[in-house]
């Protein structure tokens, strides 16, 4: 890879403009959070936005481990769940003791719950990275999940611990009964947590976490104990996962065993990876997409997990950098102004790729609906297909085979257009 051409041009570009753009992105994000419920004010969208906000905090906390420190955890929901239980117990205690703690402070206690457990188990867990860490995280997750059903006084057994968020002392006259108020509470904590987690990446600890991820052996020869670095990062991840759990407890007014189970741990891994671990905003995109799909797909298909699986495999195989990686790939092209040369090939490839996707969906739904015996028609872009009809199967077969054949040709074109654009970008001094 010829990176030699990169020179003073990129250094000179770092300027006041970059600083403005940086703060601009954050302010734009905050503005979107404030305005969203004013545009989409239905109860359904408010609930979705609230869930997405929680998922973003959770996914960002997971990326402290996966993206920043290189730790693949299979049990991150443990901290989320314990944060949720801590928040529920705290809310109930506040109400029964009459403590003057209003609801907006409760996520902090959720965070402390997640942090406390991280402090206790983290030292042993982070002794080694890699497979050892992953396996221990899986074991701990199972241990906590099964304890949650046994220790009834703490976890409330099958039914969980419920609470009433409106019973806490009011602040600024807010009861937090309406979903809109809860949304803004979540948005507030989302902003605080996101800023804090971003700031963390810009500290000495954050930079050394990256170094530990890249090369734990070498870190030891520049004065650092990688075990300590991993441990502190693990504690931060546990804290912010706990904050997310606390927000969930406020939103649902309950914490139960499902919070800390394997499904929850899988979902956060899934969101973070799909979004892209190499960039700070990756998990945000992933959390938005996955939560949105989860809410949307469950209402239209019974086999939504299958689609999740396909998406996950697709991302892992075709774009290991996730959505953020795909977006950031285009940055040199934008800078070198060669992006317009690849757009036509994208549009051209979109048609057969969409046809292929439709064929796959038809196939999956035909099989799933015929087998489940419900046989309800498949509605695809306003066209209804009967799952048991040979016409549907024929259409599916044609779409899959034809779509794949044409799509492959079009993907090749994308590749060629991309190579040309990237070469020009490199020649103009932008790293691609």
């Amino acid at each position: 890879m010829s990176a030699k051409t990169i020179s003073t041009s990129t250094i000179a570009e770092r300027s006041v403009g970059d600083g403005l753009r940086f703060y601009g992105i954050w302010l734009a994000g905050i503005a979107v959070l404030i305005v969203l419920p004013l545009i989409f004010s239905s109860g359904g969208s408010l609930t979705s936005f609230s869930l997405i906000g929680i998922a973003i905090v959770f996914a960002l906390s997971y990326n402290i481990l996966l993206g920043q420190t290189g730790l693949l955890s299979f049990g991150h929901a443990v901290h989320y769940g314990l944060g949720g239980f801590a928040a529920c117990h705290m809310m109930n205690a506040v109400v029964s003791h009459g403590w003057p703690i209003p609801l907006p402070f409760i996520p902090l206690f959720g965070g402390l719950g997640g942090l406390a457990f991280a402090i206790i188990i983290g030292w042993v867990m982070t002794k080694r990275a890699g497979t050892v860490f992953s396996m221990i995280s899986l074991g701990i997750a199972e241990l906590v999940a099964s304890s949650s059903l046994i220790l009834r006084s703490v976890f409330g057994g099958e039914s969980g611990i419920s609470t009433d968020r409106t019973a806490l002392p009011k602040i600024l006259g807010l009861s937090f009964g309406p979903q809109l108020q809860v949304y803004y509470l979540i948005a507030f904590w989302l902003v605080i947590s996101a800023i804090a987690m971003y700031a963390l990446t810009r500290t000495p600890l954050g930079r050394i976490s990256n170094a530990v991820r890249d090369n734990p052996e070498r870190v030891q020869f520049i004065g650092y104990d990688p075990h300590v670095v991993r441990y502190i990062a693990f504690c931060f991840a546990g804290f912010f996962a706990g904050v997310a759990g606390g927000l969930a407890a406020i939103n649902f007014e309950i914490a139960n065993a499902a919070y800390l189970g394997a499904i929850q741990s899988g979902l956060v891994l899934f969101s973070t990876f799909i979004g892209g671990v190499a960039f700070f905003f990756g998990p945000i995109l992933g959390a938005i997409l996955v939560t949105y799909l989860q809410l949307g797909l469950t209402s239209v298909t019974g086999v939504w997990q299958l689609y999740f699986g396909i998406i996950f495999i697709g991302i892992v195989m075709l774009s290991p950098g996730g959505i953020a990686g795909l977006i950031m790939m285009h940055r040199p092209l934008v800078r070198a102004k060669t992006l317009p040369t690849v757009i036509p090939s994208y549009l051209l490839a979109a048609v057969p790729t969409l046809a292929l996707a439709c064929g796959v969906i038809l196939t999956i739904e035909s099989i799933a609906r015929t087998h489940s015996g419900q046989g309800s028609p498949i509605n695809l872009f306003g066209v209804a297909f009967s799952p048991a009809s040979p016409v549907t199967w024929a259409s599916a077969a044609i779409l899959v085979a034809g779509g794949f054949f044409v799509a492959r040709l079009s993907w090749r074109r994308v590749g060629e257009a991309w190579d040309r654009a990237a070469t020009v970008a490199r020649d103009r001094g932008y790293l691609a």
Partner: protein
């Protein structure tokens, strides 16, 4: 004056195999000391033993008079000993700037700080910029280390090694795989950057060794057979027989 490095009767056994036996080595303060020897003589193992990468089976290693054998690599590093690696060992996905800055952080006292913005630490920025300038990689500061050319990675490796301000610097084959021109550049770089420090270097290129070192130790089969000035080593019959004779050019 106490020696910078003192290796006393060190032995390293892997299973039943003696890799290092009865190793004695003394490097004076401010000395440039080269370790030479045929392939498989245990040069890199010696480095690993001194820097804490592996622990000796027997014997002890002292740094400025204090026993360091048994300490962990980062504890030894914090006492002022830094080493490079024979196989380039950088932080591949981080930029050149970030690589050097990470190596500066501990020494400037920032340690595990998570309450300071790393970009607004003037002494860290200045020292990083200085080292990048020293290793001639300022123009490559934003390139991921994994994308550097081989020679540049070797220079970065040296930069990371000296960035923490260690007084004892150990370089493991810093010019391996380099062209003549690159080697010359690297040698003058090493000479300049280790001014006033103690340097221990493992090297195969005899012109580098005899040009750079104040003293040379010859390691054969895990045992030092001779130690002395370049002149003494050149004349030593044992060395001629064991090592230089085979590779005379």
């Amino acid at each position: 004056m106490t020696a910078a490095i003192e290796v006393r009767a060190v032995e390293k056994r892997f299973g039943n195999v003696d890799i290092i036996r009865d190793l004695n080595l003394s490097v004076a303060q401010g000395e440039r000391h080269a370790i030479i020897g045929p392939n498989g003589a245990g040069k890199s193992t010696t480095f690993n033993l001194i820097s804490g990468h592996i622990k000796p089976t027997l014997g002890e290693v002292r740094l400025n008079g204090d026993v360091i054998s048994g300490l962990r690599p980062f504890e030894i590093n914090r006492r002022g000993l830094s080493r490079s690696f024979q196989v380039t060992n950088v932080f591949a996905r981080m930029s050149v700037w970030e690589n050097v800055r990470c190596a500066v952080l501990w020494a400037t006292g920032h340690r595990y700080a998570f309450w300071k913005n790393v970009d607004s630490l003037p002494e860290v920025r200045e020292r990083t910029a200085q080292i990048l300038d020293d290793i001639h990689l300022t123009h490559r500061r934003d390139v991921p280390a994994g994308l550097l050319t081989y020679a540049e990675q070797r220079e970065l490796e040296i930069g990371i090694t000296i960035a923490g301000g260690a007084t004892v610097v150990m370089l493991d084959e810093p010019t391996a795989g380099m062209s003549h021109a690159e080697t010359d550049r690297a040698v003058s770089l090493i000479r300049r950057l280790t001014e006033g420090k103690t340097l221990v270097i493992v090297e195969h290129d005899m012109s580098v060794v005899f040009g750079l070192a104040d003293r040379i130790s010859v390691l054969v089969y895990g045992h030092i057979i001779a130690s002395g000035t370049p002149e003494e080593i050149r004349r030593d019959p044992k060395v001629k027989e064991a090592y230089l004779g085979e590779e005379a050019h």
